[in-house]
């Protein structure tokens, strides 16, 4: 049984998704319970796998007993396992926290919502775990298609069009990736990542391999919303229903950034990426541009949700820049930032979803006096905001620290300047919200006429509040333990591949 954990990790939520959809016709109330079950099991499995990987090292699971390179293998190293844990944690916690909103908002379509939700998680888990290039494409499209549908369930006026734009961009991205895989297949005759990694070195001078790498990279960059290719991202994440936003926004882009790092380390080799293609400087500068533009466009927004989506664009710039600086420190920083950013973005979107219950809209003005009304929810928002800015005890600081150390080591001083500049802009972004929430009170007395009940807006219900507070605490704990996270999990894998 424990031997089959990697397969169960993906098949359990997959089966649960179909069962839930069938169930939604028979017994609507059991959907939530089954969705929770379908996510708790993968969560437990991913934690068990992480433990196993840390003790025994690399796990290679051969699906159906077919040995690679013919069969599909699931490869688990410590980084894979920790990203899997992050994905399952966010998916499970988000489902618990937003269950109340899902049940009321999608009461007639909850079967569809939960099924899509679980299929999305299946796609992401598969992307992270798989060791097969084509399998990655299929799972990528599973995650994307369910993502499109989840986004389209939002605001009926704008969500379908935003989602359709995402479909166009996402499909081009996936097609480019597929094309790159095709070139790799022509040259090596294999689709297994480890096998390709062994077969490629004699072919590094071939232009077909360079083109293959660029195609794969561009495809993945479209999917992760890297700056010039990010145009689908803000609208899609702004108009999605908030339970879906707090699932998709933290996970999709970051998992794709992780795929990029996987491609760079375990399919191609750092030697090829940083020596044969002399593009690392250009990509780091592009990442700098992404960070600055993301931060500046965020500054231009009055809508908090939209502002956060631009912050995601900027955070993706950190990860890409860190990965392309090309030394072990910066790469560890990038991987750590993936994990941290999953948690921070999740926390910030989840608390925003909870805050939106008590406000009329997402404009900054709507936040006035909120700290009085919902102190605990606002506190979690503050913690996640501080983490995105990068204030020491929270986790955001530590990944930025490693990124800066790596940039100094690699001599990319422009990246350091940009990183600090965007942190400063993030301070403005968040403190203007905090100011509104702490020190400004609604001027209108209209609330009095509506009766006492509407003045004292109740704190967020416990079912949302407890997961939210736990996530905020997790942000601080990840920060405190990030030293051991780097030393135990990230450094061994990254150093083996780099330098």
């Amino acid at each position: 049984m424990t031997g089959n954990y990697p397969a169960l990790l993906v098949t359990v939520p997959l089966l649960a998704a179909f069962v839930i959809y069938g169930c939604s016709w028979l017994h609507k109330r059991s959907c939530l319970f089954m969705a929770l079950l379908g996510l708790t099991i993968p969560f437990a499995i991913s934690v068990a796998l992480l433990k196993k990987v840390l003790i025994n090292g690399h796990i290679s699971y051969h699906l159906g007993g077919w040995d690679p390179p013919w069969g599909i293998a699931y490869e688990l190293d410590p980084i894979n396992a920790i990203v899997l844990v992050a994905v399952t944690t966010v998916a499970l916690v988000n489902l618990i926290a937003t269950s109340k909103e899902i049940e009321t908002r999608f009461s007639d379509r909850r079967g569809a919502f939960y099924a899509l939700y679980l299929l999305f998680v299946v796609g992401l888990l598969g992307i992270v775990a798989t060791g097969d290039l084509f399998n990655l494409y299929v799972l990528l499209e599973i995650a994307s298609i369910t993502g499109y549908s989840l986004i389209a369930m939002g605001d009926p006026a704008r969500a379908p069009l935003s989602s359709l734009n995402y479909v166009f961009m996402g499909t081009i991205g996936a097609c480019f990736y597929l094309l790159g895989v095709g070139y790799i297949y022509i040259m090596t005759g294999s689709l297994n990542m480890a096998d390709v990694h062994v077969l490629l070195p004699p072919l590094y001078h071939s232009s077909a391999i360079v083109v293959a790498f660029i195609f794969c990279l561009v495809g993945v960059m479209i999917k992760m919303g890297f700056f010039p290719l990010h145009s689908w991202l803000p609208n899609a994440y702004t108009y999605a229903p908030s339970p879906a936003t707090s699932l998709i926004a933290p996970l999709m882009t970051k998992v794709m950034a992780y795929v990029m790092i996987r491609l760079m380390i375990s399919v191609f080799s750092p030697k090829f990426v940083f020596s044969s293609i002399a593009a690392s400087n250009a990509v780091v500068w592009l990442a700098c541009l992404a960070i600055v533009m993301g931060a500046l466009m965020a500054l231009a927004q009055r809508d908090v949700r939209r502002m956060l989506t631009y912050i995601i664009v900027s955070e993706i710039g950190y990860i890409v820049g860190g990965a392309w600086i090309g030394n072990a420190t910066a790469m560890s920083g990038a991987v750590l930032h993936i994990i941290n950013d999953v948690l921070m973005t999740f926390c910030v979107f989840l608390s925003l979803g909870a805050i939106a219950r008590s406000t009329k809209g997402y404009q900054i003005e709507n936040f006035s006096g909120l700290f009085k009304k919902i102190p605990v929810t606002m506190a979690t928002f503050v913690v996640s905001g501080l983490s995105i800015i990068g204030i020491p005890p929270t986790c955001g600081f530590f990944s930025k620290w490693y990124l800066i150390l790596g940039a100094i080591e690699g001599g990319h001083y422009g990246f350091i300047v940009v990183l600090l500049l965007s942190s400063l802009i993030n301070i403005i972004l968040f403190f203007r919200i905090f100011e509104e929430a702490f020190f400004v009170y609604p001027k209108t007395n209209a609330v009095h006429t509506e009766g006492e009940a509407s003045i004292a807006i109740a704190e967020t219900p416990f079912v949302t509040l407890i997961p939210l507070v736990l996530t905020a605490i997790l942000l601080i704990f990840t920060g405190i333990y990030s030293g051991s996270l780097i030393a135990l999990i990230i450094k061994p894998v990254v150093s083996a591949g780099l330098l």
């Binding site: 389209a152 069009l161 359709l164 479909v167 166009f168 499909t171 081009i172 597929l178």
Partner: protein, 131 residues
């Protein structure tokens, strides 16, 4: 002439897929109607499917069905006689993916049409701005 032979004629499958892909991309970028954009997207995906199918073929290769002689037991298979089936099998999956993407996109287009009564992008944008 030499260039023509080695780069255009001998690798015509690559040129075909590139041309098809660019037609698709052009439709996605330049067309104003959402359905036309979707058709462009489908052409784009089909170009890549054709590319994969073409890389599996071999000169003089036949369909990869291995005959077993009754009672003959195992016998050596000469791989050069058969077309490589793997890219074709991969494309079955890619076709399923492209069909489902197209399905989702059409459903979205229906939703947009129900709301705004148009699928022309410029009209959509003006109506969104007005509302």
């Amino acid at each position: 002439m030499d260039f023509l032979l080695t780069h255009l004629v001998a690798k015509y499958n690559f040129w075909l897929y590139i041309i098809l892909m660019m037609i698709g991309l052009y439709a996605m970028i330049a067309k104003n109607n959402l359905i036309k954009k979707l058709v462009g997207m489908n052409i784009f995906q089909t170009a890549i499917i054709l590319f994969y199918v073409s890389i599996g073929s071999k000169r003089g290769g036949t369909i990869p069905i291995v005959e077993h002689i009754a009672g003959g037991g195992e016998h050596a298979i000469n791989p050069t006689r058969y077309v490589n089936p793997l890219p074709h099998v991969l494309m079955l999956t890619a076709i399923v993916v492209s069909v489902s993407t197209f399905g989702v996109a059409l459903a979205l287009a229906i939703k947009i049409y129900q709301r705004y009564k148009t699928l022309e992008e410029d009209e959509l944008l003006t109506r969104i701005r007005e509302s």
